[in-house]
Amino acid sequence: MSHSTQNDAHHGHDDVAHHIPIYWKVFWALIAGTVITVGLYSVHFESVAVTIAIALFVASIKAFLVAGYFMHLLSEKKMIYGILAATVFFLIGLMALTIWGSNDHPSNTVTKTFYVP
């Protein structure tokens, strides 16, 4: 990225023109990702966990493309990364609590031998 342009924020004129073909590539990659996700629906995997993991993996790649290129996160200032690091920390905490807590759901506890209702 240009760090010392006159007109500031972060992209000069040429710089942006240079990005247009990248935006097009990202667009087609996103469409391809969608097609792959839907295509995988017709493939039957034995394990539900594997099916979910693959679908979420493809979704994560798509999310990375949108955030990285369309939202310019690949070339942002430290401040933004700081805000996002805090968000990711709390989001991971939230999901960890959710997964941890799901063990205590009534439908799971009745199957455990040590639990006497």
Partner: protein, 282 residues
Amino acid sequence: MEIPYTVKPRPDTGLYNAKVGIWLFLASEVMLFGALFSAYILLRVGALPGTWPEIKTAWPHGLLNIPIGTFNTAVLITSSVTVVFAWAALKMNNFARFRICMVITILCAFGFLSIKSYEYNEKFTHYELRLKDGKAFTGHLEVNGKHPGFWDFGSIYNLARLTEEKVEKVKFVADPPKPKPGEKHEGNHEHVSMEVVTSDIVHLDAFLPRNHTFFAIYFLITALHGLHVLGGAIVLGYFAFPGSKMWRTDPERFTNRIEVGGLFWHFVDLVWIFLFPILYLL
């Protein structure tokens, strides 16, 4: 008083203020949607087996329209790329192209919402039926020979309403049996039309939030997402037309507004990228 750092980066953050603002807002949005995703996980993990007999699993897979959902995903991705092109056009001093890109973005937004409202209507008129002899079906209901209209809440029935209105018989057009994921559709695509006596029914309800936790979380998350699409479309519509006066007086600040509006728009797209597989496919 003039608002500081609308164009020039603030020395300590290295950013114009609106950008820090939108990212803080998006961070809170991540937590909002994150909480709803976690609710989805808990509801799904906790769904009791046998609560949805027709599908033979506790969690109702494949009740949403995948081709339409896929098309809507493509519509949202298109609007995401056009909004970034609109911003790039301003950076390159091309106002005419900026406006074309914004108009496409806004049309995509309303296209997305129209398709979504059609999908909602499909669920309002789609029923789950269980009979006393243990048979279960999904399909469409006809009471007194009337077809429900678009978003016609007055014509949604359940067992309690049929009993209350003393409707003795209804016509039910059952969907063809569903193949399991991975299996090929074999032969049977027939919709079987049948007469059902009200006293034989154990459960009858449309695919509404009250009928299943899946539909509760589906309507909640997609409606909240839909409101974000609507809000984004209004803001981008303002920038594209009345708000674009600023381009003549303060072009750099205007360009930054488009970048910030675009960041919100991409976030809305990003949420959908996760919503689509978890609601439609998994």
